[in-house]
Amino acid sequence: MTKSELILRLSEANPHLYQRDVERIVSTIFDEVSWAMARGDRVELRGFGAFSVKKREARIGRNPRTGTAVSVKEKFVPFFKTGKQLRERLNDND
């Protein structure tokens, strides 16, 4: 399912809403989650999961082809932990 398919499904389920409003709703939700992580905040959606940001310290890496040492700057990676309810739902249908 892509974002546009998600918008389509929601529009069908909510015929009283304009599709452009449904688009704005979906974009707003994912934007809020993105910006929260960009502030370093955690986003906790019970039953679904939690988004957080993990810091990777600067390190000396190696070019695997040549073996030369290269410094890798510290970086931040988004992380998602699946919620308990969703994890259970993924596994209880078989």
């Binding site: 709703i25 905040d41 994890r87």
Partner: protein, 105 residues
């Protein structure tokens, strides 16, 4: 980092501010969006949200694990796990915002 926690309440508030719907309907829609994503994943679909990332379900095979306390071998049954792959847009957004900041702290 992780000074604050954002929950459904803040997402609903953002939807309420952005679109001219009632607070109740805004929070119902946040729930509907999450439900649609969950339903698609349970059907086994990959969910791709452009400029955010993609969620996919991966089947894990059985393996032998160990109870770290007792050292006993325990079978870990085959199971499905959810994997989130953040898009480059999201990774860049986070790094652009946070990398300068921690130099100070």
């Amino acid at each position: 980092m992780a000074d604050r926690t954002v929950t459904r309440a803040q997402l609903s508030e953002a939807v309420y501010q952005e679109v001219g719907l009632s607070r109740n309907e805004s929070s119902d829609l946040v729930e509907s969006v999450l439900d649609e994503v969950v339903d698609a994943l349970v059907r086994g679909e990959v969910v791709k949200i452009s400029s955010f990332g993609s969620f996919s379900v991966r089947q894990k095979g059985e393996r032998i694990g160990r109870n770290p306390k007792t050292g006993d071998e325990v079978p870990i049954l085959p199971r499905k796990v959810l994997v989130f792959r953040p898009s480059h847009v999201l990774k860049n957004r986070i790094n652009d915002a946070l990398s300068g900041e921690t130099k100070a702290s």
